[in-house]
């Protein structure tokens, strides 16, 4: 029996469980807010084409509008200026082999629960490795904060000086790049912390991860259903020509 | 230049087609019936008339022109008079000159309209451009509201009371009780008049005419033509018309008759005292009072006292609207402008079909029409004499 056949058997028998890491695409889900002088990401919108009516008596369908970075979405390296000249840096050219990969889940939910400005640091990552082993190259590092259990204003957590949501500090990003991480995934609207514009470099997760050809996943949920290691993440973005990212369905395979 | 008189012009074959509140027939049906009846009364065939004059509000796009083909007529003289309550006298004036000059030998003058449950409203909302723009949108009261305003102004100016107007209506109802074609045949007394449902203050139900379907007709010809046909005929002694008189009056308290009445009486070589029967245009009693004044039967502002001092019934001291007028017979659209004229011909030629005015030898018929905006624009009057 090949390993795929065993996989199929495990899947059929329920020995492998599929966990949906995706938020529902809806107009009400917060999108990233840039300062108003910049262009803005389109929120999700849906308009009916027909619903068993004069515009289509036997069928129902909609037109939808989204930005590439709306809802649960994937960031390709080309998204950031640091990754603009890398090979295979767009949604249509990045290697398909990378779209299925193991995941390491760093659980900081306790620390982030009451602290929107919580930062993921190198000591935290090192402590995780001490407990769970070295993070292999080519794995997603998923940052669990349970932020996805919040909604609305608490989720966006915006104040007059911008969003206050957890993220990595620049050292942690450099460390993750050094480990050969495939990408960095978070439950919040951005891979960077809400106040990352104050860091050096600004927006380190975007700047350094994409500059190194790595990916990002945002607005994930159900990370609390994943083991620290051992999960496989399936995260293929839409094959948009020259795309910088896309909304997507993110699934994780975990041992039952 | 001295106006020519109407010597030798006569009116014959007075016809009323009995009115109906509503009709399933078109206006041409009513006009055609009246024409046929006038020809029958005169013993003529359609080809025997060479002039045709018509008035109607409900012919749609048609005029007298279309009716020639509809009725199979080939007249050498044709007219269409869209003058509402003045159309009878004006038609007579036009026809009289035609037969005098020999442009025509016999002119059939006909007015008629049909009526459906919604036709009155439809007619009002597009009655005239000024009405569409500047009166109909102000409460949709139509002529009731327009005459209410004139009545209010008249009452304020001259102290007329509702009782005074009531006397006119009550007397006409008395006359109508004997007239076979009147739609309103229930006796009316002053108490009933005063207690009636208000319509547009100070106008109440019995001040208003009832719109209906009907038609009226008469023939105009030279005296010798009538004699050759052995037709009883009334003579035309004088006639006037005036349009948009006294434009500087801020509100209408008088009509155009006041401008031309001296000429009218001079042509007829008579005076108000010489009139045995008066047929006024009576769509509301206030306009009757103005005609009493402007035609010289009393001074301006004295009509209220005049009606208190006279018995207006057919056999009374001042016979007026002997068939009951539009107030009791009904208003068949443009035929309302013919009603008094046709009745006067009947009275003067001994052909009355209702109340008889004893010794009626000279009658004055007046017309009033077209509340284009805030006032009636057309006024006309004619004096007729018995053969």
């Amino acid at each position: 029996m090949t390993s795929l056949a065993a996989f199929a058997a495990d899947l059929a028998a329920g020995r492998i469980r599929v966990v949906d890491l995706t938020q529902t695409l809806s107009p009400d889900f917060p999108t990233i807010v840039l300062p108003p002088q910049f262009g803005q990401c389109a929120p999700f919108r849906m308009e009916q084409i027909s619903r068993y009516d004069a515009d289509g008596p036997g069928w129902y369908w909609n037109n939808i509008t989204v930005g590439e970075h709306t809802g649960t979405h994937f960031d390709a390296p080309v998204h950031w200026v640091t990754g603009k000249d890398l090979p295979n840096n767009t949604t249509d050219t990045l290697p398909a082999q990378n779209l299925v990969a193991p995941a390491c889940v760093i659980d900081c939910s306790a620390e982030a629960a009451d602290n929107g400005d919580y930062l993921l640091t190198v000591p935290v990552l090192e402590a995780w490795e001490a407990a769970h082993g070295r993070i292999p190259a080519g794995a997603w590092i998923l940052f669990r904060t349970d932020w996805s259990k919040r909604s609305g204003a608490a989720y966006a957590n915006m104040r007059d000086d911008g969003a206050h949501t957890p993220g990595p500090d620049p050292h942690a990003v450099r460390w993750m790049v050094g480990r050969g991480a495939l990408g960095f995934g978070v439950e919040t609207i951005g891979t960077d912390a809400g106040q990352a514009h104050l860091m050096d470099p600004m927006y380190p997760a975007h700047s350094m991860m994409h500059g190194a050809g790595r990916y990002g996943l945002q607005c994930l949920c159900n990370l609390d259903q994943l083991p620290p290691t051992g999960a496989i993440v399936i995260a293929p973005p839409l094959k948009i020509q020259g795309g910088s990212g896309s909304p997507l369905r993110v699934l994780a395979l975990v041992p039952a | 230049m001295i106006r020519h008189g109407y010597e030798g012009v006569v009116l014959a074959a007075p016809v009323t087609i009995p009115y109906q509140r509503h009709s399933i027939h078109g206006a041409a049906w009513w006009i055609g019936r009246a024409l046929a009846e006038a020809l029958r009364a005169a013993g003529l065939r359609p080809a025997d008339i060479d002039g045709f004059c018509c008035s109607s509000f409900s012919l749609g796009a048609d005029t007298a022109v279309g009716l020639t083909q509809h009725f199979g007529l080939s007249p050498r003289w044709l007219d269409h008079i869209p003058m509402g309550g003045a159309c009878g006298v004006v038609a007579l004036r036009r026809a009289a000159r035609a037969v005098q000059a020999g442009d025509a030998d016999i002119v059939a003058c006909v007015a008629g309209d049909t009526s459906t449950p919604d036709s009155f409203r439809q007619q009002l909302q597009s009655f005239s451009r000024f009405a569409t723009d500047a009166t109909w949108p102000y409460g949709g009261g139509g002529p009731n509201a327009s005459f209410a305003l004139l009545t209010d102004a008249y009452m304020r100016a001259y102290g007329a009371t509702r009782e005074d107007f009531g006397r006119i209506c009550v007397a006409q109802r008395q006359n109508a009780l004997a007239f076979p074609h009147a739609l309103m045949k229930r006796p009316l007394d002053l108490a009933h008049y005063l207690a009636a449902r208000p319509v547009a203050d100070p106008i109440a139900l019995f001040d208003c005419v009832m719109p209906c379907a009907g038609a009226e007709a008469f023939l105009v010809m030279r005296e010798e033509t009538a004699r050759a046909l052995s037709l009883p005929a009334a003579h035309l002694r004088g006639a006037i018309e005036r349009h948009h008189a006294f434009p500087d009056d801020p509100i209408q308290l008088r009509g155009g008759w006041a401008m031309d009445r001296d000429e009218l009486y001079a042509m007829a070589a008579t005076t108000p005292a010489g009139i045995d029967l008066l047929q006024t245009y009576d769509d509301y009693p206030v306009i009757v009072m103005m005609q009493f004044e402007d035609l010289g039967f009393c001074a301006k502002g004295e009509a209220p006292a005049f009606v208190r001092a006279h018995d207006l019934t057919a056999a009374g001291s001042f016979p007026h609207n002997s068939s009951g007028g539009q107030l009791s017979v009904g208003q068949a659209g443009a035929a309302g402008g013919y009603l008094g004229l046709v009745e006067a011909i009947r009275q003067l030629t001994g052909q009355a079909i209702g109340a008889v005015v004893p010794g009626a030898r000279t009658a004055l018929v007046s017309g009033f029409g077209m509340i284009n905006y805030d006032r009636g624009l057309c006024s006309a009057a004619a004096i007729l004499a018995a053969p």
């Binding site: 849906m46 | 409203r121 909302q125 500047a134 949108p137 102000y138 209010d152 304020r156 203050d201 805030d374």
Partner: protein
């Protein structure tokens, strides 16, 4: 004297509401000048260019000299009542359900005699101030007002058929995030609105001024069909005035200076947003336009004068505002008897007009203009010196204005 109108009584849910009928709509083309004047609180009649005779009813040629150039000019409002009547039976369905209805004949000091609607406080023979009003058909009509103001004169039932007084009515202001929306909400509340709802999009974002909002915030994002549908489902049957205050202003031209995304956002805000509002709120608003003592009565749209003639420095925004004005024009015809009021503004005193020199329109000025225009039942108000100047130039010659704007 007019009695004070009590607040609306609870509606009887089983009673069939009064239908939103229209008074007579047909007019000659010349008579439409009355509506144009009434729309802006003016009292204007045709005045002969040749002999200065004042005309009424509106004409094609002069009643005094047959001159054919009869421009509309503001004329004195004084008049005297010559006759009055109270119509108790009307042949027109609209008036039939509103009798008794009082009208009168009024002699204007400037000459003509007019048949006019009468305010209840106008006595026979009285001196009056003539006004031109828009009736429920949106047509210009004469209404004689008493010479002196009285306490509750705004509550006269005939006057109320021609006005949209917010007192006692419930109002939805669509953009509770904007300073203008918040100021308008506060002014409507101060004017006695029974309830003010403020639409707030993206409730997860901070709302500046949330702690001092006049009225209650409701979820409403005009760029989202579903949001508008949900809001209409919850509020559609209980607002009488809808005020769309959304303006998305960004500097930038057509060929450069504005991204497609910004251009699209401007069009979303100016056109598609009101389109969604119209589809989801319009029919219910219209259906309730004659219901009860405080029926639904008005749709207010805030728009820039740049919609009349484009300012190239705001090229994308101007194009979107032209669409906004076009939408309001069609909506006005569709929603009758609901009054569609367009509030034309020049540059608002906000962060997007920093480069514009004063005077700029303050949110408070916009709010005062909206309340005043509703009270008088207007269809158009230009707020502030810039908008009024712009409108005067536009009316004088749109082509010249376009060239002035091109610089």
């Amino acid at each position: 004297m007019t009695a004070k109108l009590p607040p609306p009584a609870p509606a009887n849910p089983l009673a069939v509401p009064r239908a939103p009928l229209l008074p007579p709509t047909t007019r000659s083309r010349a008579a439409l000048g009355l509506a144009s004047a009434a729309a802006e609180r003016r009292f204007a009649l045709q005045v002969c260019a040749a002999c200065a005779a004042v005309q009424y009813p509106p004409r094609e040629v002069c009643l005094a000299c047959l001159g054919h150039h009869l421009p509309w000019r503001d004329v004195p409002r004084e008049g005297r009542v010559l006759a009055t009547t109270t119509i108790r039976i009307s042949a027109d369905p609209y008036f039939r359900t509103r009798t008794p209805w009082r009208i009168g004949t009024v002699r204007l000091a400037c000459g003509p005699v007019v048949v006019a609607h009468l305010h209840g406080d106008v006595a026979p023979g009285a001196s009056v101030r003539m006004t031109l009003r828009l009736d429920k058909s949106g047509q210009g009509v004469m209404l004689a007002m008493p010479a002196e103001d009285s306490a509750n004169m705004q509550d006269d039932p005939q006057l109320r058929e021609m006005t949209c007084d917010p007192r006692g009515r419930r109002v939805l202001v669509t953009d509770g995030r904007s300073a203008a929306g918040q100021a308008i909400a506060a002014a409507l509340q101060a004017a006695g609105a029974r309830e003010v709802f403020l639409g707030v999009a993206e409730p997860w974002r901070p709302l500046p001024g949330r702690d001092r909002l006049a009225g209650s915030a409701v979820d409403l994002d005009c760029t989202d069909e579903d949001s508008v549908r949900r809001c209409a489902a919850s509020l559609g049957g209980r607002v009488e005035i809808l005020v769309n205050t959304a303006l998305h202003v960004r500097p930038g031209g057509i060929s450069a200076g504005t991204s497609m995304a910004t251009a699209r956002a401007e069009m979303e805000c100016a056109y598609f947003g009101p389109l969604r509002l119209a589809r989801h709120f319009g029919p219910a608003l219209r259906a309730r336009a004659a219901d009860g003592t405080h029926p639904a009565c008005a749709w207010v749209g805030l728009a820039s004068v740049y919609g009349l003639a484009a300012n190239p420095a705001f090229g994308g925004f101007s194009a979107a505002q032209a669409a906004a004005l076009s939408l309001l024009q069609s909506l006005r015809a569709e929603l009758r008897p609901i009054r569609v009021l367009r509030v034309l503004t020049g540059p608002v005193d906000d962060e997007w007009h920093q480069a514009n020199p004063p005077p700029k329109v303050s949110p408070a000025a916009l709010a005062a203009a909206v309340v005043g225009a509703l009270r008088d039942g207007l269809e158009q108000v230009a707020v502030g010196d810039v908008a009024q100047d712009f409108l005067a130039r536009f009316r004088d010659n749109p082509d010249t204005l376009a060239r002035e704007l091109a610089g």
